[in-house]
Symmetry: D2
Amino acid sequence: MPISEYVYHRRVQFPETDASGIVHFTNFFKYVEEAEHAMWREAGLSIADPANDLRWPRVATSFEFKRPLRFEDEFDVHIKVAEKTRKTLRYSAELKKDGEVLAVGSLTIICARRPPGQPLRACDIPPDISARFEAARS
Amino acid sequence: MPISEYVYHRRVQFPETDASGIVHFTNFFKYVEEAEHAMWREAGLSIADPANDLRWPRVATSFEFKRPLRFEDEFDVHIKVAEKTRKTLRYSAELKKDGEVLAVGSLTIICARRPPGQPLRACDIPPDISARFEAARS
Amino acid sequence: MPISEYVYHRRVQFPETDASGIVHFTNFFKYVEEAEHAMWREAGLSIADPANDLRWPRVATSFEFKRPLRFEDEFDVHIKVAEKTRKTLRYSAELKKDGEVLAVGSLTIICARRPPGQPLRACDIPPDISARFEAARS
Amino acid sequence: MPISEYVYHRRVQFPETDASGIVHFTNFFKYVEEAEHAMWREAGLSIADPANDLRWPRVATSFEFKRPLRFEDEFDVHIKVAEKTRKTLRYSAELKKDGEVLAVGSLTIICARRPPGQPLRACDIPPDISARFEAARS
């Protein structure tokens, strides 16, 4: 069964806050990436599998911030496969606390390979990996 | 003279890299924010001035990544005021190394105030701060 | 029942690794602090409780590193209250993976208060907090 | 001329602060490492030189914290080679702002090599690298 979405639970840690008293915005991107990696584990995969030479560089990412997070807040990252192409995956993500949307983001990654001594180059997602993911309906 | 753009020079530090051997993408957002704060200092301001009760929460941000950065690379962040409204500033940013564009980003911030015991609320940018910035031509 | 020790389970996240392929050493200090805060929650407390004006600055900390951690490794932080004085708590910590010790650390914190408009100053740990912790036997 | 000490100038960046309003203590270790890498560059070296297979894992590190740093503070890291052995370098470091000592730390690193497909193992510091460093007098 391919995976289309995943909910990742997290608590805010102290160094993620800044002197304005809230979570520094760059951590929202870390939270989405943690959710992505957890979704891959759920799919039986690792985004950095020592057994293959694939890399998954980030192509583009964005966030709109609506409400802040504070120290020790518990929240969920709802991550979805929004689009799957031959070479790329695009995720959409919502951060929610107590049912309220805090932020909405997007992350696009591309499959790449680094032949020894050559630069990284984009390649098709191998079928056994591609088969594990499916774009979410909505 | 209001400021419209600024070039911030930086070197990659080791903890900014990750196990894939390149700078972790979240640091690109930190680099732009460092450039923003340097531009504010250049304008005679601090983004977190203890002498006022203003806050500048980040409303939205995005990045497109074209080429990686590695440990000890030197690069420049070219940040511009792309748009100025009554309450917001939107910056555009380019990361360049040896004249080559590595990544292109955008960051929108809003002026806010936190009255004691009340939630943060958006407010007009005070005239003495607004006067220091001007949207870049191009 | 006062608390003397706590075991905190954690998985390595990608941005915690660096270009040498292992967890950057500064994250070991973050892991211990996360374990400390989890131990405080277990004791019914928050290290940064908005309901009081206490602060817990770090006075000293150290680590000896024996074995590395890698992306997606799961490990435990065994944190103990090694010493409790009127104003300070000293923790010792061991990071373990599969029963093997990866690193051994120490962290000393002091109770402090910041009267409005004055600098932070050390103070006695309030009895209701002190009663929650007890130095471990061994 | 071997190098024995180096002064590294730095400004506090916003994400380095935490919700208590000061620099999170783990960043003091990052500052010392930045100073170390700058000292190596000053000695004509890179701590992560793609041209050799050496690694410099951190063996032990410690810090005593005396005064806090805040956003936009400028400070210096005074790093010294405190001891040089066949396989290790031990640095001592002082963070100073306006001549005042904020924190005092220590960092020990060991020279290691990772033969292909084998675990990392300690080795003697190569003569051309060892010759660039000398323990400071005091």
